[in-house]
Subunit: 335 residues, 2 copies
């Protein structure tokens, strides 16, 4: 059992900054995130993209903002459980909480701060019958985490966005056979990635099937082949070891949706006084919360984190008077 | 007459960042500040002090944060009236505003954003009779803007804080005679500045009077001498060209207090939905506003600026539908 003052769900920029604001008030934090690294969307989805609206940075790469925030909270010694999803929440009689993750990790805390961004990202699945049969290691996967797995294998990738193009370009040299299937004539992804894919097809290094769709999957236990239909409705069977549909990720609230929090359109309703939810001791900050006038901006989440920390402090220290000290005058005092 | 969409009163960090948020929504800004340079307190009072609680900066010198913000808003071409104090506000029949400054500059705008920080800083004056008689260029001044003015002059400085110490050290070589008067035995300012002052006194380069007070000022038209009382109540007259009491600055709301805004303890009451005041078209953001749970943090002002801009846009464009675009996806689009 991990013991902490505040358990923060979500290691994106707002969850990370919450450690700083809590730390100034002498509250310790533990962060849980389903992703294997900190940074949320910023490191997972757009690490190399510049952000222009973080105050004080004319521009900053998403991954650098996360690096800076990590350094900023370092004095407050946050601890992490990464690569695990928070599944359940129990409120005990003494008003403290116990959270449990997908891997069985348990965290005991006095305050829960949900900073889950847009939620857990789940892959968009194509409407093909029996896909589930080949999930969990039997030939179909929706994300690529270890490209080495595909060395000298036959794979079929479907999709026309950046992810499909980038992985096609990357895996062309790794696999023994690579088929890229895309339902349209042209790609949505970056033009230079698309160009590279067209070149690989011209050189015969990959097989490119445009205006086509995978519409069936076959195999007794493991996937062995897929059916691909072209624009003339002609179906061809391709033998393959893996089928990888890369149709993007879609955010879901996940298990949090079942915690009796007030939810409005996939977001948690909060009181703007302190970004508290309808359950005492649980706060929601950043993109995952909603209130009248809400803007889903990182800079708004920072403000929400600061106000949340004040209120969390009062819950944890009902009889303690708090005087705010400016860091500019006194610097940072850690534990 | 200057014409603009938004007139921002106050060129501190929050006023500056408001230009960015307004600019993203295609609204142009003009900034007025009583200080001769941008940055508010950050450049005026603590330019070289590190700030630790700006998200994404483990630490940043106050002056560097201002430099960065200036660069960040540059694409939106803000214009400035510096060194002038906004004195009056008139709301016209078409709901637009005309502001006038201490120097008679007029600004016509549709939206007024008050980002005045703690207000105008006014010098703390010692309780000496007839001080006013020698103000406005007749020998008494409370701030030093042009040290060259004192070259080969006799001056008396009073005070024991950083400002008194720093200016004493700086002016020792400039003036023909310098007397530093301090009511206590020890100084409040930085130890190394104090040490330097003590050394100058030992070397006979300045005259240091501790446990003493200036209690009278003399002169027919201009100041010619001051009376200084020591701890034994012995009064001595010192001839001087200037008397410079440096007892710090104290913030005042100034003329804004008379604009019929709802004021609570020297701060402007706002609606947290959009940080609007009780007068339609006037917003207050940053340290100058107040609401339940208000934290006087720069990072909170940034959030307030973002929400304010959304609401200002609706006032300026009542019939236009607005779709928020993330800068990360599309970059910054200027005018």
């Amino acid at each position: 059992m991990i013991h902490t003052d505040i358990c923060i769900i979500g290691a994106g920029p707002v969850g990370l900054f919450a450690v700083f604001e809590a730390g100034l008030l002498k509250m310790r934090c533990h962060i849980v995130d389903v992703l294997p690294q900190i940074g949320g969307q910023l490191t997972e989805i757009y690490p190399k993209k510049p952000i222009y609206d973080i105050p004080g940075f004319p521009d900053i790469l998403a991954q650098d903002l996360i690096k800076n925030l990590r350094q900023q909270i370092d004095p407050f010694q946050p601890t992490f459980t990464l690569g695990e999803r928070v599944e359940s929440l129990a409120k005990l009689e003494d008003e403290s909480f116990i959270l449990a993750t997908s891997e069985g990790t348990q965290i005991s805390c006095k305050i829960v701060v949900i900073a889950g961004g847009l939620g857990c990202f789940e892959p968009r699945k194509p409407p093909i019958p029996n896909l589930e049969k080949y999930e969990s290691g039997k030939g179909i996967q929706y994300m690529i985490t270890d490209p080495e797995k595909f060395r000298n294998k036959r794979i079929v990738i479907a999709g026309g966005g950046d992810s499909a193009l980038d992985w096609t370009n990357f895996l062309a040299d790794v696999t023994s056979e690579l088929v890229l299937v895309h339902r349209n004539e042209s790609f949505r992804g970056a033009p230079d990635s698309a160009e590279k894919v067209l070149e690989l097809a011209k050189e015969g290094k990959i097989k490119l099937l445009l205006n086509s769709n995978v519409n069936k999957v076959h195999g007794e236990n493991n996937l062995t082949s897929v059916s691909i239909e072209d624009k003339d409705k002609v179906e061809t069977i391709y033998e393959t070891d893996y089928f990888i549909p890369l149709f993007g990720l879609t955010p879901k609230l996940g298990p949090i949706a079942d915690w009796n929090l007030n939810i409005d359109k996939n977001a948690i309703e909060v009181n703007t006084l302190d970004y508290s939810t309808n359950i005492k001791g649980i706060f929601a900050i950043g993109d995952i919360n909603t209130y009248e006038g809400k803007l889903k901006l990182i800079l708004c989440g920072f403000h929400e984190a600061a106000l949340m920390a004040q209120s969390a402090f009062k819950i944890m220290n009902p009889n303690k008077k708090f005087t705010m000290k400016y860091t500019t005058v006194n610097g940072i005092e850690t534990f």
